[in-house]
């Protein structure tokens, strides 16, 4: 490996990027536009929210209330933790998005004709689903009360159950707070797909790739020299989006920058690998561009970036899981909004690592095979 040759290729690549009119648009103008666009426009519908029920009352009334939740389209009861303490890790991992807590003595209070407070806990890190979930929960509780009143023949004034909704992590339910971290990952993927996919095919098309092989340069030298400028740009882009997001949209940051760095680093490898792979297998720039478009749109739609995965039909969920962006979103939103650490985000981080190894590895293997053609 010759550092001199790597530096030379890097210098050449920077020189070209500087003269590329696409660069400014793809790397910085587009992200800022997207930031404004997604920052102000958010809408979603939510169904089948996974919910945990903590029944501390163990009464007929509590089971009835649980049944009401179970029979609604909005919630799927997936967990029954015994105590409230067990709820926190479930929420950290994102296993449940909401929880219904029925305290001990609810049934007794109801029979006494007193107000019985129950808890509805909602994960606010995905604010759109959170606000909708809390709305549904309130509605179900309201209906439950109505039926209780009708059954007991009590007057309208009877208090019944008093639902106390508490949103954790993102108390104000600002959708922007979860949108900006998501946007950082999504933009990284889009602008990288667009730029990286052109990187090698451009040289193949211009014939300079062939010229490169009559020089002593090694393939790994070429690869490192070629990729480094793009990685530097990616980091600059992430910084720009994050800074604008935090200063202009006042997005709070509760987590650790290390988590963000590791998550984004792994996601960057995946994105660079994918772009490189497309660039290597494509024969023309146009072909590469079309492939990128073809791959980007489903990723944007299915990853949970705009529409929560919960709102999708059940058979889509496995597809969402094989999209790297899905996991990058979990990591970034977790770190930004919930302040989750490495332990809570271990699963998505490992999945991202696996994607990075497989995709980047495939790109390196293809590099050996395809360049010679």
């Amino acid at each position: 490996m010759s550092l001199k040759r790597i530096r030379l290729v890097m210098w050449k690549e920077f020189l070209q990027l500087r003269r590329d009119p696409l660069l400014l648009r793809a790397m910085f103008l587009m992200p800022i536009l997207q930031l404004v666009f997604f920052g102000y426009v958010v809408a979603a519908d939510v169904k089948n929210i996974s919910i945990a029920v903590i029944d501390l009352d163990h009464s007929v009334a509590s089971r009835q209330l649980e049944a009401e939740f179970a029979s609604s389209d909005y919630f799927v009861i997936t967990q029954h933790p015994a105590t409230e303490a067990e709820l926190q890790p479930l929420m950290d991992k994102g296993a449940v998005k909401a929880a219904l807590v029925i305290p001990d003595g609810t049934s007794a209070a109801l029979t006494r004709g007193e107000a019985a407070p129950i808890g509805v806990v909602v994960d606010g890190s995905e604010s759109s689903s959170a606000s909708i979930a809390s709305g549904y929960a309130a509605q179900i509780v309201g209906e439950f009360n109505q039926r209780q009143i009708a059954a007991s023949g009590m007057t309208i004034a009877a208090p019944g159950i008093d639902a106390r909704i508490r949103v954790v992590f993102n108390p104000t339910l600002e959708s922007i707070n979860s949108m900006i971290p998501g946007l950082i990952a999504a933009l990284l993927m889009i602008s990288f797909g667009a730029l990286m996919s052109q990187a090698v095919v451009k040289e193949r098309e211009s014939g300079t790739l062939e010229q490169m092989f009559v020089t002593p340069i090694k393939r790994n030298e070429y690869l490192i020299g070629k990729l480094t400028p793009y990685v530097v740009l990616a980091i600059a882009q992430v910084a720009v989006v994050a800074i604008i997001g935090m200063l202009w949209f006042k997005v709070p940051f509760y987590g650790s920058w290390w988590v963000v760095a590791v998550g984004l680093g792994l996601f960057l490898l995946t994105s660079v690998g994918l772009g490189l792979l497309i660039s290597l297998v494509s024969h023309t720039r146009q072909q590469a561009q079309q492939t990128v478009m073809f791959l980007m749109i489903p990723q944007m739609v299915l990853s949970g970036f705009i529409f929560p995965v919960e709102s999708m039909p059940a058979w889509i969920a496995p597809i969402a899981n094989v999209i790297p962006l899905t996991h990058a979103l979990v990591v970034l939103r977790g770190a930004f909004v919930k302040g989750s650490g490495f332990a809570a985000l271990a699963t998505p981080l490992w999945i991202l690592a696996a994607f990075a190894v497989v995709i980047f590895g495939a790109a390196v293997v293809q590099m050996q095979r395809r360049l010679a053609e």
Binding site: R5, L8, V9, K12, L15, Q16, R19, D20, S206, G207, T208, E210, Q211, M212, F213, V214, T215, P216, I217, A372
Partner: protein, 310 residues
Amino acid sequence: MTDSQPAVVARGLTRAFGPLTAVADVSLEIPEGGVFGLLGPDGAGKSTLIRMLATVLVPTSGDAEVFGESVTHRPGRVTPRIGYMSQKFAMYPDLTIAENINFFATLRGVGKADRRERSARLLEGMGLAEFAGRQAGRLSGGMKQKLMLASTLMHEPDLLLLDEPTTGVDPVSRREFWRILAGLQREGKTVLVATPYMDEAERCTSIAFMDEGVITQRGTPDQIKALVPGTLFELVSPEPRAALAAAGAVPGVASAHLYGDVVRVLLSGTDAAGVAHACANAGVAVDSLRPVAIDMEAAFAFLAEEGEAA
């Protein structure tokens, strides 16, 4: 290295692309020094052959040695001694002439002092010096080719592999390009050049005719021209197409072609009276009909037809 060592020795060089064999079992020896011309119609396999010699394409079978080093086993020892110029313009269009030249030369390990001296000399010699700061994509066709040649010469290779270097270049630039090649030959370099232009073939010291992946003829331009039997006549007529049709049907005419506005008739004998007669019968006026020396154009047409007949 001894003086008698050939620049290129190819043995059974073969390359297939799927079911298509682009180069089939080519064995070839090119002595050091001189301009070796590779002729043949489009798709004859000229580019494929050159790319294998340049180490950018791996042969399906067979091998070749460039100055005694195998292109398949030791490509790293071959590349410093060759300059390969692909058919397509292969410089960065968004980098300037100077940046392109410096990039490739530095990549090849040419030192800073040498780079400065050589690029100044080469660009000056090719009339590119005043455009050194211009982006390569904005150059004319002829200037692009000269830039590529200059870049190819920066590491002072002993063998130049030039794949149709003057295709799509205006006649003036073509002549200039060949003047540069003649200068290189005088310096003792070996030049292997593929070309579709017959007038260029005349300027080679030795040529090979390639068709359907095999080399069908080899020799000096004179030897190749001597392969054409009979006499070549040029017929000038105000109605060349009608004259062509009339002449083509005459017995004893091996072939008849339109060459610009002139009909070229290859006769097995030396008497063109039959052609004149046929034209008169068809009512086609003939301004002149005279024998001309067989040139490469005629030899090329003849050999290509032979190839089709075979």
